[in-house]
Amino acid sequence: STEIVWWHSMQGALGDWVNDIAEDFNKSQNEYVVRPVFKGTYDEAMTSAIAAFRAGQAPHILQVFEVGTATMMASKGVAVPVSQVMTEAGYTFDPGAYIPAVSGYYTAPSGEMMSFPFNSSTTVTWFNLDALEKAGVPTDNLPTTWPQIRAAAQKLKDSGHACPMTTAWQGWTQLESFSTWHNTELATQGNGMNGPNARLVVNSPLHVRHIDNLADMSKNGLFVYKGRGSAPSASFESGECAISFNSSAAYAGIAKNAKFKFAVSPLPYYPDVEGAPQNTVIGGASLWVMSGKDDQDYKGVGTFFNYLSDPQVQSNNHKRTGYLPVTLESFKLTEDSGFYKDNPGTDVSVNQMIRKTTDKSRGIRLGNYVQIRAIEDEELEQVWAGKKTAKQALDAITERGNVLLERFDAAANR
């Protein structure tokens, strides 16, 4: 049987999940064997893949985080579009079956869907209901706008809660998702979706206003910075922070460790901004098919992807991990199974992504994205630390990020 090698970055319980999927698939047929290989964190896996590709040793399937999407797309000839793989393997592939924000994000300007959305997440708000109740915030009508969030945070603080609100993935939730949620550009060229010649415009008045607001909340002890990436997750799970902006996929951990009632809501928005709320951006990762393999191999990949596209499989994945049910059908299936009734709020993420996207909200796809994320972290930390104003920091992000974008642009045009 043909072996399909799949490099992934799923750690902890998610690693088990990946292995289970592969095992199920391998059992479901006997022509192909999918062999998942853990290759470290997303960035480590990608570096491995780059090195392996250069040496002609790339895997068949590579899991790439959304931040690496632009790099993958810009590297022509590295990957085979997933639509092509599926079609050539004899399966029908309908991008329209996917949630628009998902399919849109992984579709190249040429209209081809490049990678297979595997574990997509989005940004949501997590509430500690016990804490809110104790602070006198009504839990049946959770805050949905920033002014309401601020008020709730104030009450939490007054009730003695040391960390009323925090945020994980600050760049993702407070700049990127924030932008699409408010139907505002983070970068030109449709946030880079239309080509590599995008430039950051993250220093717009709306962005400045929001970051100013957070800075002010921070100064008043309403917002407590708990670190980069997913590090702040633990502070919500432990009950320390009552409100947290985080990935929808934080569900698994919260469900397991939280000793309190919790709820999940869409991100808050500024009600006076026109077009808000629009839709949030995608996170997580997708599966890329690497070029240079045999037809037989690609057939196997196609078969595997076809298996993954099965609504029941997708629904199961969704329920198990908190990642999005990436097709509308699997969403329905999950709904019908009564899962959302039993686990209120778990559908929130889908609901806020399901809308028809605009040119400004399809997603963020920037080159040198990893470094740009690092710049976002660096500069925002300066704001929380009171060393820079929101405006200064956002200007700096724009300026420093654009240097990187220019270089990416230049390389892509070569």
Partner: protein, 280 residues
């Protein structure tokens, strides 16, 4: 020595405080590995041993916690082979080259010397992609050779041996010559036995270096069968969205540091001796 009992008392105090600080992270890891995941996720976390020791270690070992399919036993084996390979390989090639550098005169000796010396200063990580390409081109991915050989390309051991060889009296060499021993016999019969303590010290240093590799094996192994245990631990530390099971992580961390710790403890006598002698 003069009688200053208060200094002795102070010495003990300072050392105890030092040990307290130095050992506390390890103590916390030990504690964490005896509790449930929930206990470790809430403040206050326990500071005394809990009751889940056996369960956690069993989970870590047979992987019924995070990372079900990871066989810690296999990873330990890979680590062991890698660490031994690096330690022994490095010792062997360094012994040979140090021997050549000290006991022979040949053209370009200085050039060779400096060529080897420079390698002290550029760790694998900052040239990792090109190195990977070389290894891949040589077909050494997924092999113990790929895990070990590129990592023995540094000169630490060569220099330690060179230092040590220079302290061996000339007369011993001459006695061996008169006894009819050629260079190879001299190396095997005299030099290597005499270098025992240096070899022991280097073995410890290199074993630990090999055991603790993370990035390189991660890159070079495209088959999970070839992962060392440190990669396994990193994998149990959930990034992104999964929950953090500190208990299992710490149990695995303790398991992972046990072999090098044992090596250090058992060999510390020779280790220290080797360090002192080579230092002079």
């Amino acid at each position: 020595m003069e009688k200053k009992p208060w200094i002795d008392v102070l010495s003990h105090i300072v050392l105890c405080v030092g040990i307290l600080i130095v050992a506390s992270p390890i103590y916390m890891a030990l504690i964490a590995s005896t509790h449930t995941a929930q206990a470790m996720a809430q403040w206050p976390i326990p500071l005394t041993p809990g009751s889940h020791l056996l369960q956690n270690y069993a989970d870590a070992l047979n992987g019924s916690g995070s990372g079900q399919s990871m066989a810690v036993g296999r990873m330990m084996w890979v680590s062991l082979v890698t660490a031994l390979g690096i330690a022994i390989g490095k010792i062997i090639i360094s012994l040979m080259s140090a021997f050549a550098l000290v006991y022979f005169n040949f053209r370009f000796k200085t050039l060779v010397f400096w060529g080897i010396f420079v390698t002290l200063m550029l760790p694998v990580e900052v040239r990792i992609v090109p190195t990977f390409e070389v290894v891949a081109n040589l077909g050494m991915l997924n092999s113990y050779a790929g895990l070990t050989i590129p990592l023995i390309a540094s000169a630490t051991a060569t220099f330690l041996f060179r230092q040590f060889f220079k302290t061996i009296p000339n007369e011993i060499v001459e006695a061996a010559k008169m006894d009819g021993a050629g260079p190879i016999r001299f190396l095997i019969h005299i030099l290597i036995p005499l270098s025992a303590t240096s070899i022991a010290a280097l073995f410890v240093i290199q074993f630990i270096y090999g055991w603790n590799q993370y990035l390189w094996p991660l890159l070079i192994s495209t088959n999970e069968d070839m992962y060392p245990v440190v990669v396994g631990i990193k994998r149990m530390i959930p990034a992104g969205d999964a929950q953090t099971e500190w208990n299992i992580i710490m149990a695995t961390a303790i398991l992972a540091m046990t072999p090098p710790l044992l090596v250090v403890m058992f060999m510390q006598k020779w280790f220290v001796k080797g360090l002192v002698e080579s230092d002079k």
